[in-house]
């Protein structure tokens, strides 16, 4: 028996547009409009909303990247442009998420180089971009200014704003019309508070994507799931301050003991299993974007989403 899927919800999740085509002032081949849901994912009678998007994460300095991925992707990890291209053409991702890990270096100061990397990646892929900026509050201002300016017109998604650290990224979003990721540490109240702070500084609600923070499966993901569920319930019940699409990045999955210490012959498979299971759970909890690092996870997720959005029989 199919249970009653009418929960008496009155509101919808807000929409955020990512990417801009030439006609819209950017250079992307297409754009995405994420959000807009009226119920929980995969539960609509007549499926109209698209599957969650899959972002493939790359970086500009693989030193801090998982050795499993570095080995699997080979030389690509030293060439963000080609890596981004592979994400689009070979791996089949919907989005590219560029993490500027070079900013993790001690006394990092080569901000112009970041601009060049962003330019290269923009030129190498036609997919809409997510840029993960500075890792160091001291250089936030310069880094986000540079990223925002370089991607002007492209309507990128910039990450990541946190409660004590959101001004620079908000400024970049406002100055150059990008959307931003607002992350809170698995806490619905802090998520809401950050969204309010961002609104107060002038960031429109349709430029905010919530990152509820994704714990690794078996290492706290259930808290993330519960926070996401409650964020989505609140949105559907009418809380405008939480009615934004969500993004999840289960990258912690690659650093857990089970994956790190897996036998060489099953290492990739194990990494994919953990990324896949966490991402799928996040999608079921309501994530509009899931971000992964292992190329094989992309295919697994695509297949799973296809299965979930195809309704046979009744």
């Amino acid at each position: 028996m199919i249970p009653d899927l009418n929960f008496g919800w009155t509101s919808t999740v807000g929409e955020v547009v990512l990417g801009a085509t030439r006609a819209e002032g950017g250079t992307r081949s297409h754009t995405y409009r994420i959000g807009g849901g009226t119920t929980l994912p995969f539960m609509e009678k007549n499926i109209s909303s698209p599957s969650p998007l899959i972002a493939f994460e790359i970086c500009d300095d693989p030193k801090s990247w998982s050795p499993i991925i570095n080995e699997f992707c080979g030389d690509l990890v030293h060439d963000p442009g080609s890596w981004a291209k592979a994400a689009e053409t070979t791996y089949g991702a919907d989005l590219v998420r560029l993490c500027l890990t070079s900013t993790k270096q001690r006394e990092f100061s080569d901000v112009p180089a970041l601009g060049k990397t962003v330019e290269t990646v923009l030129a190498s892929t036609s997919l809409p971009l997510i840029i993960e900026g500075s890792n160091e509050p001291k250089i936030d201002s310069e880094v986000f200014q540079k990223c925002g300016e370089t991607g002007q017109g492209e309507r990128m998604l910039l990450g990541t704003a946190e409660a004590g650290r959101y001004r620079s990224i908000a400024a970049a979003a406002l100055a150059y019309n990008h959307a931003i990721i607002a992350q809170s540490p698995i806490d619905i109240n802090l998520a809401k508070q950050l969204n309010i702070l961002l609104s107060e500084i002038g960031v429109p609600k349709d430029h905010i994507v919530i990152d509820p923070y994704t714990g690794a499966l078996g290492y706290g993901f259930e808290y993330s799931y519960s926070a996401m569920e409650r964020i989505r319930f609140s949105a559907l019940k009418g809380d405008a301050d939480l009615a934004m699409p969500m993004i999840c990045a289960p990258s912690d999955s690659l650093t857990i003991k089970e994956v790190r210490e897996a036998d060489t012959e099953v290492r990739d498979a194990t990494a994919v299993e953990w990324e896949f299971a966490t991402s799928l759970a996040a999608a079921v909890a309501g994530a509009e974007i899931v971000c992964v690092r292992h190329p094989d996870t992309v295919k697994r997720l695509k297949a799973a989403f296809a299965g979930l959005t195809t309704r046979s029989g009744a």
Partner: protein, 681 residues
């Protein structure tokens, strides 16, 4: 300027406006700026009209009732079209790309505000020092007119890198300052062109801009500079002018006055003292052997007091020590100490004094080598030998307090000054005055009733683990954890308007006895995500408040004896209900509403509202002996005042009644009033 000749601003304005009007009539050329999508930005922001020639210019001038800023903008644009751009260092009109970067720095907080310096300073040195101060205070400064050559002659470096931007050689060029603000409003403030109201609100509330005027402005210049007042920019004059609504100032204080007027605050990030300062040290105590000197604690007179002053009465960051410093004190001895903190701020209120005063305790304990216990005239403060060796002085406690108050309450406080008194006679005198103030405060808070206010405060801090829990805090019912009073809730809301403490409008009364209000119900329903429909503030039986898990005590009904018992967290044994505190807590916590059970703070037991819905404190039949003892000094007189001088003895505890059977017998024996009250169920 010659001698004492002063220009009358009001008169000059009149003449200047006339002159601007005449010149507007003589505009003949076409004109436009390059690299902007905002045409003449001031005119465009005000009216939505793109001005490029005589007819559009006069259209906008008429539509804005002959606004002198519009006139100045049009005239400057025409003059620039005719004469070309001025050569370096003058920037002239600044492109949108650069404005986007400037706006970025404003939103980002790396620039705190904007300043305009216009006119010709009498002394290049004093102009240079004003610029230095603006640079130090993270202001971005624009210059126009004679001030530019004057600064150059004093060797001041100009340019965006130095946050000193030379707009142009004439005062008229300062209209670019306004076109920058107009564009920032349109780019970042969501102001649509032509939406005057939105623009004015943005300029007044969000644009942190001040104008500093040197002598030498013509009547026309005065007219349009004065026109900036409409945008809420204070105009500060450094001599040469009188009348009008300009604020006279001296070079030494002009920057501070201007920043104060616009509420631009420099945030404190580092505390200049020779010891570490962090909440990490809060729990560290200083034992007798480790101590260099101590104050109070019954060994010497000591007190602390925080007072509100009017803005301008105190100098921010000023620390004064009255009496001997630590170097003149004997090791291991006790000395008198008075800590007097004076604060000022536009939103500061007298009611907040005691709440802020409590923070002295935390802040002094943040110091790695300083320690503080108790409050008011009972304080006990120690400074460690280690800190003393590192050079910590009494003065540094003052610096620590002044900095921490400003850091933790940036929205509330604009200025904090600290006086530390170590002179015995002065401490005794100060203590006497302070005691009077403590009494006044007690009387004020004591007198505060739920009926006196229209607004209560919520607390949803615990929703992290109890998702639908909502505390409603009233003057007579503190939060169930006992940690947050109504005043605390109010101040927390002021400090962090989007935080976990929100105002709750009481609204219409639904049930006076139970303390149920429409507004409270509305709020609770929303804040509990639709889970809780009704909430009575004073009832355990009907729609009691939800419980998170932090309650100091639990009040629950005992149907067998028609009464209510209270058990506090510290009590480990079984209660007459057959359950321990922790079993009970597990049953009612997690954000649920459980009729018959309520999580409460200990102090609430002493409130007139306690058990009001059930007929009052006469329902109270059982409490653990330790809690009874703790409350005794306050509870006995309170019961007597209510006409029950013997009720305290009639309340059972674990010694007189361990089980429900014992309790029934005990209550019958003493003739407890609950037995004959209206049935609870």
């Amino acid at each position: 300027m010659k001698g004492t000749f002063l220009t009358d601003v009001t008169l000059a304005k009149k003449t200047g406006n006339e002159q601007l009007k005449n010149k507007m009539a003589s505009i003949s050329r076409e004109f436009s700026y390059e690299e902007t999508a905002y045409h003449l930005p001031v005119s465009y922001a005000l009216t939505g009209i793109a001005v490029h020639n005589r007819s559009t210019a006069s259209d906008v001038f008429t539509k804005t009732s002959s606004n002198p800023l519009v006139a100045a903008e049009c005239l400057l644009a025409e003059a620039t079209a005719a004469g070309g751009n001025e050569s370096a260092p003058y920037t002239g009109f600044i492109s949108d790309t650069v404005i986007r970067k400037l706006g970025y720095s404003l939103v980002d907080g790396s620039i705190l505000g904007l300043a305009l310096l216009v006119g010709t300073p009498k002394s290049a040195e004093s102009a240079a020092s004003i610029c230095r101060e603006l640079q130090e205070k993270y202001m971005l400064t624009f210059l126009s007119g004679g001030v530019i050559p004057s600064l150059s002659s004093a060797g001041v470096k100009l340019g965006l890198d130095y946050r000193l931007i030379p707009l142009g050689s004439k005062p008229l060029h300062s209209v670019h300052f306004v076109d920058i603000v107009a564009r920032v409003a349109m780019m970042f403030g969501g102001v649509s062109p032509g939406d005057i109201n939105r623009l004015l609100t943005y300029a007044a509330e969000r644009a942190k801009a001040i104008v500093i005027v040197f002598p030498g402005l013509s009547d026309e210049d005065i007219a349009f500079v004065d026109g900036m007042r409409v945008l809420g920019f204070p105009i500060l004059s450094l001599g040469g002018y009188e009348g009008g609504d300009w604020t006279p100032a001296t070079p030494d204080e002009v920057v501070r006055t201007g920043m104060d007027m616009k509420g631009i605050r420099v945030t404190v990030t580092a505390i200049p003292i020779p010891m570490a300062c962090s909440p990490a040290f809060e729990g560290k105590s200083i034992r007798k052997e480790e101590m260099q000197v101590e104050f109070g604690g019954g060994r010497s007179p000591a007190f602390e007091l925080l007072r509100m002053r009017n803005p301008g009465e105190i100098e921010d960051g000023k620390v004064t020590v009255i009496g001997p410093e630590i170097s003149a004190m004997k090791e291991g001895a006790a000395y008198p100490l008075g800590i007097v903190i004076e604060v000022a701020g536009k939103t500061m209120k007298k009611d907040y004094e005691p709440v802020l005063e409590r923070r002295i305790h935390n802040f002094i304990n943040y110091g790695e080598g300083s320690w503080h216990v108790a409050q008011r005239d009972l304080i006990w403060v120690r400074i460690s030998k280690e800190a003393f060796t590192k050079g910590v002085k009494i003065e540094h406690l003052g610096k620590l307090l002044a900095s921490k108050f400003r850091m933790d309450f940036p929205q509330l406080l604009d200025a904090v000054a600290v006086t530390l008194i170590t002179d015995q006679d002065k401490v005794l005198a100060g203590k006497k005055d302070a005691e009077k103030i403590y009494e006044e405060r007690d009387a004020r808070i004591k007198g505060m009733r739920d009926n006196d206010v229209d607004t209560y405060y919520s607390c949803t801090l615990c929703q992290t683990f109890a998702p639908n829990h909502v505390c409603v805090i009233t003057p007579e019912r503190p939060a169930l954890c006992g940690a947050i009073s109504w005043l605390d809730g109010k101040i927390a809301y002021e400090i962090s308007p989007s935080g976990a403490n929100q105002p709750v409008e009481k609204g219409a009364l639904v049930n006076a006895q139970n303390g149920e209000f429409e507004g409270v119900n509305r709020f609770v329903k929303k804040a509990s995500h639709g889970e809780i429909e009704r909430c009575s503030l004073y009832s355990v039986m009907e729609f009691p408040m939800t419980c998170c898990g932090c309650f100091e005590a639990i009040a629950l009904m005992l149907p067998e004896v028609n009464g209510i018992m209270v058990v506090n967290r510290e009590f480990k044994g079984l209660t007459p209900s057959g359950m321990t505190f922790s079993t009970l807590a597990g049953t009612i916590g997690g954000g649920a509403q459980t009729p018959g059970f309520a999580g409460i703070s200990k102090n609430y037991i002493l409130s007139d509202r306690f058990l009001q819905g059930e007929g009052g404190i006469e329902r109270l039949v059982w409490m653990p002996a330790q809690l009874k003892e703790e409350l005794k000094p306050r509870l006995v007189p309170l019961l007597a005042a209510k006409g029950h001088p013997d009720l305290f003895e009639k309340i059972a505890d674990e010694n007189t009644a361990a089980t429900i059977e014992d309790l029934t017998a005990f209550l019958a024996r003493v003739g407890h009033p609950a037995l004959v009250m209206k049935p609870l169920m």
